[in-house]
């Protein structure tokens, strides 16, 4: 059975979620906050009724709980296997505490496996386990780690537990990595790439496209670096951006944008920078500055002014919108003399036209979703 991770895009590339009662490896780069990533998933699982078990080798339980609380993640009833406090010579009130020092991998690994097995057997019901983190035990050798996990998988199956193993690749050999990956049911890769000076995190499963994400105050969010909003003078571009983004800034004089609008969306699992252009021809030179490396374009037109549609198409061309995913927002649909959607589609010759009213905040979010779907379908990195 597939179970949801709470990260919609991740569920999609996994064909519906992660397999229950299985071993999942998150193989990560060194700059990724893998703990937070897995805590988001754990929180989702707890909300869906699983018991959460957290095995920690690097941060004491109090630090983990604090991080989860700050992101608004659910940690109700979570059971801790504390494998770090003894090493730090700290007291621990966790249900299971490792006595061995993690600096002595042989002993620590053996005892950790025993504690984990005990926790799995003593905790009733469906369980999701975060094993944070596996590479600490690589001192015993990749072969041994892989062999022991193979045995552990039977216990996962028997105790109805799904285990998320977190593993940072600090430069292990290809053979060592293969050893660990091959024993897992699923391997999800989390890493960082640099594209023209932007450092971006992504997750990837198998040969799937790399999906960009950021971990924000509300959790793991899919990241689209840049959306451009353009369209003729007076179409309602600034209003569209203001209705999309609570924290937006406009540079305007006498009610018309003269340089740019900027907004930042952070909601519904998405983060994105939005740039708005002026509409008047005398500012067209700025289109070139703002339209570099854009991921998607929203073309806003005034539904009551079909005479401006030619200009709209010209602007789309100037920002090279035809080469990238774009949608049309047929704005001011709340006005009595607005043209019908069909008419607008016919005059423009575009299919993806969404009726909107920026002032009434209607159709805006639906339109954005359509654009994002187009971006994810077409744009890969």
């Amino acid at each position: 059975m597939k179970i949801s991770t709470g990260i919609q895009k991740l569920d999609e590339i996994l064909g519906g979620g992660i397999e229950s009662n299985s071993a999942v490896l998150f193989l990560t780069g060194t700059l990724i906050d893998k703990s937070s990533f897995s805590q988001h998933i754990l929180s989702t699982r707890i909300l869906e009724g699983d018991k959460g078990i957290y095995l920690t080798t690097s941060k004491p339980p109090s630090v983990i709980l604090k991080n989860m609380y700050e992101h608004g993640w659910e940690s109700e009833g979570m059971v801790f296997i504390d494998c770090i406090s003894s090493t730090l010579k700290q007291e621990s009130d966790a249900s299971y505490v490792l006595k061995s020092l993690v600096t002595r991998p042989e002993e620590a690994w053996e005892e950790t496996l025993k504690l984990l097995e005990k926790a799995l057997k003593e905790t009733p019901g469906l369980k999701t386990v975060v094993f944070d983190c596996l590479e600490v035990f690589m001192g015993v050798g990749a072969k041994r780690v892989a062999n022991d996990i193979k045995k552990l998988k039977n216990i996962l199956e028997d105790t109805k537990s799904t285990c998320l193993f977190l593993f940072t690749d600090w430069g292990y050999s290809k053979e060592e990595l293969e050893e660990v990956c091959n024993v897992m049911d699923t391997v999800i890769r989390l890493d960082t790439i640099e594209k023209k000076l932007l450092w971006m995190n992504y997750f990837q499963y198998d040969e799937s496209p790399k999906i960009l994400f950021q971990i924000t105050s509300v959790g793991v969010s899919i990241y689209v670096p840049k959306i451009l909003v353009t369209g003729p003078f007076g179409a309602g571009k600034s209003s569209t951006i203001h209705s999309l983004s609570e924290k937006s800034v406009s540079i305007d004089k006498l009610g018309t944008t003269i340089a740019l609008d900027h907004g930042y969306i952070e909601k519904k699992g998405l983060v994105c920078d939005i740039f708005g252009t002026p509409g008047q021809e005398r500012f067209d030179w700025i289109l070139k500055i703002l339209s570099r490396d854009v991921w998607g374009v929203i073309l806003v037109v005034d539904s009551t002014k079909p005479e401006t549609f030619e200009r709209a198409k010209e602007m789309l061309e100037k920002v090279r919108g035809y080469e990238i995913p774009f949608v049309v927002f047929a704005n001011k649909q709340d006005l009595p003399n607005a043209l019908s959607l069909e008419e607008i589609k016919r005059i423009l010759g575009f299919e993806d036209v969404i009726p909107t009213s920026a002032i009434k905040k209607e159709g805006i979010e639906e339109g954005l979703k359509i654009l994002f779907d187009k971006i994810f379908k077409l744009k890969t990195i």
């Binding site: 000076l197 924290k247 800034v249 340089a259 740019l260």
Partner: protein
């Protein structure tokens, strides 16, 4: 590939100069690369505007045929703001205290911009 930390180190080094309140590296198309601006500043919006300011200034420089663009300095009643190019892809900005020694700061910013250019 440059590490983000290296760029952040360039900013930290620059911010050691007393009269610099904060600084940031911005991509020419307006996205924020690294920020050392005060946390209450909307750095993403400032980044977008910096790209527009520098882009506009460069275009004007060309249009007016007055040679090579060098920097933009914004003078305000409570402080100053400087933006310079840092290679083909990036812009370096700095927020300065009122009455800051702008000559010295520009010199240091030029050095930092060269470092950034090499890193990226």
């Amino acid at each position: 590939m440059a590490e983000k930390k290296e760029l952040e180190d360039v900013l930290k080094e620059l911010e050691k100069i007393g009269d610099i309140i904060g600084s940031a590296i911005v991509r020419r198309d307006g996205l924020l690369i690294a920020s050392g601006l005060p946390s209450e500043v909307n750095a993403r919006a400032v980044a977008a505007m910096a790209a527009a300011i520098v882009g506009t200034s460069e275009t004007s420089t060309k249009e007016l045929e007055i040679g090579e663009f060098q920097q933009v300095v914004v003078n305000a009643s409570e402080g100053q703001y400087v933006a310079i190019g840092a290679g083909e892809e990036a812009i370096l900005i700095a927020l300065l205290r009122k009455n800051a020694n702008i000559g010295l700061i520009l010199l240091e910013m030029e050095k930092a911009a060269k470092k950034i250019e090499k890193l990226v």
